[in-house]
Amino acid sequence: MRTVKYFFLLLLLVSVSYVVSCKTVPQYEAPVEPVIAPVDVTVNFRFIAYDTAITNPDDDKRCYYKVFIDKIDAGRTTIGLESQKKYFEAKLSPNTHLIVIEKWVLDEREGEYKKVNNIAQPKPNYYYFETKKNAVTEVTMVNDKKTNTAQYSVSMQ
């Protein structure tokens, strides 16, 4: 009789602990497409990219970076010479995010931008970063054009 009593008590404890544990699992959030911020909208993420090791102005092409955040096409940076800083801003949910970039360079003969060959894309072409609600996360990517080696740095402002 005593054994049965203990068994029911144990079962009750297991059930309660299960219910409690279910309540603490984080709820799934659908990916939020980054909002390209008009000037009057506060942003909390900024991406800056530029190239170094350009020794000849002829090699300093007009370009931009296509930006994917959390694997969603989020837009592109501003356009400028490879050596110039190019910007992308967005308002993101406070979380860890993945940025993947894709370099596009102007083909002056064709009059249009063309995606740079994968071999010449900056490596790595991705970076994980954190965002907060009331701070701006700034990710800077510096690409060595000779080696196509990208270095990322992050700061929170």
Binding site: I36, P38, V39, R76, L106, G111, E112, Y113
Partner: protein, 519 residues
């Protein structure tokens, strides 16, 4: 023996008969160097004469009993450039009517279709001016004056506008390209050209007249129409020898006298076949062009939806003026539907005469059009055909209609970024206006903005749609099938361009682009 004598007798009779049948030549009687010393000749009877001296002139006198048409010919004299003059006796003496000289040596002279009234006339035969005057007392000339029925013939001399023969509208008149030269014609442009002038009267204007002159072998005809102020309304273009000349649809806007000049090019003459000239008129109903409209100043006004015209003769150019007096620009659709024989073209001109656009998309027999002409009225349309093409019998139709489509901002030419049309609202409506038409539109926004472009291609024309950076370099391009839609999103860094291009050879199709802030 008797038989022999009989044969001799028959032979003698035959010889005597033949001798009596031989025509006696009639010779001039010198001196006949002035009209007072001349002698009368009979019409139809030839008379021979000589150039007895280097300055010999032989006068002959003809009495005309009834109005008639004279055919005067002088045979050739070897080595001599001959000429003759026809004179009319007046109370004061004589008056020269016509000088005939083809300026060739050893060549005959002839004047045919010379209408004369009752009276006395003189014919003086002399040396021509061109060659040295030489005498020839061995070879005679023969002067022959014949007459013909003068009914419906021109009345020479009608060599100037002042001596133009009156014409009756609808009644043909005939005349000869004779003689080859008119020495009294001192016109600087066409010196010595033999011209026949006619005149007709228009009592009610406006009317449209058609004038036709038949073709004559060996003659390339020139036909001019002149108003009472001396303005040339029509001047025919070369059509070749033996071909008729037609002035069709000549608009006569003012009542009064009008004049027609007929001449042969290159001093050619034909004394055998007359030309026939006829003038007909019809009332003007605003649905046909009024020739001459070969220059902007004489453009035919367009007051109906469609106006008809003809490309005739070769090289004909027709100007039309689309009316109104609007300072505001509007869209118009301009179409020219040619007959199957013509490869037609047209150009658009502003009221200041500046060429805005030339349309030449299609081949022979195909319609040319501009679906979205944007300018202020009045404006001019010039219609013509490819070189060497003409059609005397078939009309082309010119149609001009206002276009009222909301958000139509496609103002041609906008084929480059420098010509781009600025986008004011959120919708672009445009036309593929011609083959391979490229349309640029300029986008201006405050700061960086992401935009969604919903593009709908024309029903029968697949298009490509591109968005560019601020310098006009393409950021991305999408291809959209005919009649279908696609959405493109792109960030505009303050300024950018949209480019629409057709992907086949078709045109005259409407596309739309909706620009949105959200998908």
């Amino acid at each position: 023996m008797i038989q022999k004598q009989l044969w001799i007798g028959i032979l003698l009779v035959v010889i005597a008969t033949l001798h009596s049948c031989k025509k006696e030549k009639i010779f001039e009687i010198e001196p006949n160097d002035t009209y007072t010393q001349t002698h009368l000749i009979n019409i139809g009877t030839p008379i021979d004469g000589f150039f007895n001296t280097e300055s010999d002139i032989d006068f002959y006198m003809v009495d005309v009993q009834a109005p008639t048409l004279l055919d005067i010919s002088v045979s050739a004299v070897k080595g001599v450039n001959s000429a003759f003059t026809v004179w009319k006796a007046t109370d004061d003496g004589v008056m020269p009517l016509k000088y005939v000289d083809d300026m060739r040596k050893s060549a005959p002279e002839r004047l045919r279709g010379f209408k004369v009234d009752v009276g006395r006339y003189y014919i003086s035969i002399s040396h021509g001016d061109k060659d040295p005057r030489i005498k020839n007392t061995e070879n005679s000339y023969t002067l022959l004056v014949n007459q013909e029925d003068p009914e419906s013939f021109e009345s020479e001399p009608n060599d100037t506008i002042l001596s133009a023969n009156p014409l009756t509208i609808g009644v043909p008149v005939r005349g000869y390209y004779s003689p080859a030269f008119n020495k009294t014609n001192t016109n600087a442009v066409n010196p010595n050209r033999e011209e026949d002038w006619f005149t007709f009267y228009i009592d009610q204007a406006p009317v449209v007249c058609d004038i036709e002159i038949s073709g004559v072998t060996g003659i390339e005809a020139q036909l001019d129409i002149v108003d009472a102020q001396g303005n040339v309304l029509f001047s025919s273009k070369p059509q070749g020898q033996g071909v008729s000349q037609i002035a069709k649809g000549i608009g006569l806007s003012v009542a009064g006298n009008y004049y027609i000049m007929v001449a042969a090019k290159n001093y050619a003459a034909n004394n055998e076949t007359p030309y026939s000239l006829i003038v007909t008129t019809r009332s003007y109903d605003n649905t046909t062009e009024i020739e001459p409209n070969n220059i902007m100043a004489s453009a035919t006004p367009v007051v109906t939806d469609t106006i008809m015209g003809r490309i005739y003769p070769d090289g004909d150019v027709d100007y039309y003026k689309y009316g109104g007096d609007s300072s505001e620009k509007s869209f118009y659709r301009v179409e020219v539907a040619p007959p199957m024989t013509l490869d037609i073209l047209f150009s658009i001109y502003t009221v200041k005469g500046e060429e805005v656009y030339t349309v030449n998309n299609e081949v022979t027999g195909q319609k040319e059009l501009h679906p979205n002409l944007f300018l202020s009225a009045p404006f001019y349309v010039k219609v013509w055909a490819k070189r060497g093409q003409l059609d005397m019998d078939n009309n082309y139709g010119l149609a001009i209609a206002p276009v009222n489509i909301s958000n139509l901002i496609d103002v041609e030419p906008n084929d480059s970024k420098e010509q781009a049309n600025a986008v004011q609202g959120n919708t672009i409506t445009g036309y593929i206006s011609k083959k391979a038409d490229t349309d640029y539109f300029l986008l201006h926004y405050k700061g960086r903005q992401k935009k969604y472009f919903l593009v709908k291609a024309p029903e029968k024309i697949p298009v490509s749609f591109s968005v560019t950076d601020s310098l006009g370099y393409i950021l991305q391009t999408v291809k959209i099938k005919a009649g279908q839609s696609a959405t493109v999103n792109e960030i505009i860094d303050g300024k950018g361009y949209c480019i629409v291009k057709p992907l086949n050879d078709m045109y005259d199709g409407i596309y739309t682009v909706e620009i949105k802030d959200k998908p």
